[in-house]
Symmetry: C2
Subunit: 256 residues, 2 copies
């Protein structure tokens, strides 16, 4: 039987999980499919402590890292994906279905660096703010009448699809190879976030950010920067430019 | 986005489940992927009663049927599959990996009639006796170091693969169409089991079944009959023959 795909570079990020059973279930599925890096953003403290007993995944849970923001949890990644049931929500991100094709796209990035896949809390999933950190969103194809999956099961299904034996993907991959032949180093999400932050400060200084629109504006800028899909070198250059602009604007803004 | 495949004819059979959370999780995944028929063999009574709260699947659980044997639970099915982590066990059944190809085979049967997929208990999975009711076994491709999945997650992954949008399967299906073009009505597992039982009685009468080998012999016969892959009409004929033989043998066996 063929082996599972190499998922060393995959990072599972659980955002505000509430139920220790689901954290444990996610860890177990990670262990089943060869994913080692679990990061948790603002978990309920009790939930996180109690999750330590996942079958065959206790070491994985011991090594899980805690973060206080999505931005920090994904800063070293090249690609960030959010998962969603896509119900009753107008999405600003591109939505793709979990399948051979989207899995192939993810594998292409995994060969260059880290890819984060975000799972939201049991009750409300990921927020629009969380989505603003994502390059695109992933939806498990479920029935319209009951789209929302259990958190632990959703993690298992996503990792199963990504771990699917590599040969199954070759046929699909072949179709997309031609146009993606040149290998390009992309900027990490962390650098993109620095650009976002710097740009935002510049926009604030400029008066572009109207009172009360601060949060919406931040998300707007973040999405914009992600859509740039910056190469590593270009990102450095852009960040340098933005910093320079902000440095200058600070000098001209009266201190409050 | 493409819709999920038609799984109306799929029957999920949980054999001796212990944990109500897993029964509920299985029901929820069934609801997510459009599978309606849940059958439970010898569940722990408490587990079954407490499972009533699966999100979006309470009706499905209310309609779940209880059986006292695997044979009874699958008697109206054309194809029976067992799931296994295939660890430390010498298997007498054919073992296939869950993938596009095995899923395609299952879909071909689903177009003709019911297909049962069996999930064993949390601790020990399915027994060799359970396996003897299966045409073949299905293994989710997991890592060698932690092959065994959580029950609820295993159900979700299997149903996800089977519900996978039909167009993804077409390429694989095309390769196998030629040799399976003629549509044949196969015998249900129930009829096969009647043949097994009748043959066994004949074997017992014949002295073929040695003391202490009763159970092994039963499994052996059951597997044999399944491998016949009988057409419906042929099964009727064979059953008639076997019954006739037994009727005759009873007359010649001294009553004890």
């Amino acid at each position: 039987l063929p082996t599972v795909a190499d998922l060393t570079n995959l990072v599972v990020v659980m955002v505000r999980p509430r139920n220790p059973l689901n954290i444990g279930a996610a860890a177990r599925a990670m262990s089943n499919f060869g994913v080692h890096c679990l990061r948790v953003v603002n978990p309920y403290a009790v939930a996180f402590r109690e999750a330590r007993s996942a079958v065959g995944a206790s070491e994985l849970l011991r090594n899980a890292e805690e973060f206080t923001s999505v931005a920090a949890a994904v800063s070293d990644c090249l690609l960030v994906l959010g998962t969603t049931a896509a119900r009753n929500r107008t999405l600003q991100n591109t939505l793709r279905q979990l399948d051979l094709r989207s899995s192939g796209t993810i594998h292409k990035q995994l060969r260059s660096g880290r890819v984060a896949i975000l799972f939201g809390s049991e009750k409300i999933g990921l927020t629009n703010d969380d989505f603003s950190h994502c390059h695109w969103l992933l939806k498990i194809p479920t029935r319209e009448t009951n789209v929302s999956m259990n958190l632990g099961q959703a993690v298992a299904v996503c990792l199963y699809e990504l771990a699917r034996a590599p040969e199954a993907k070759s046929a699909t991959a072949r179709n997309t190879t031609a146009k993606n032949k040149e290998k390009v180093d992309r900027a990490t999400v962390g650098v993109n976030e620095q650009i976002t932050t710097t740009l935002l400060e510049a926009l604030r200084h400029s008066g572009y950010v109207k009172p009360g629109t601060e949060s919406a504006c931040e998300k707007k800028v973040r999405r914009l920067v992600l859509r740039f899909n910056l190469e590593k070198m270009d990102a450095e250059v852009l960040l340098g430019m933005a910093r320079q602009i902000v440095w200058r604007m600070r000098q001209h803004t009266p201190k409050s």
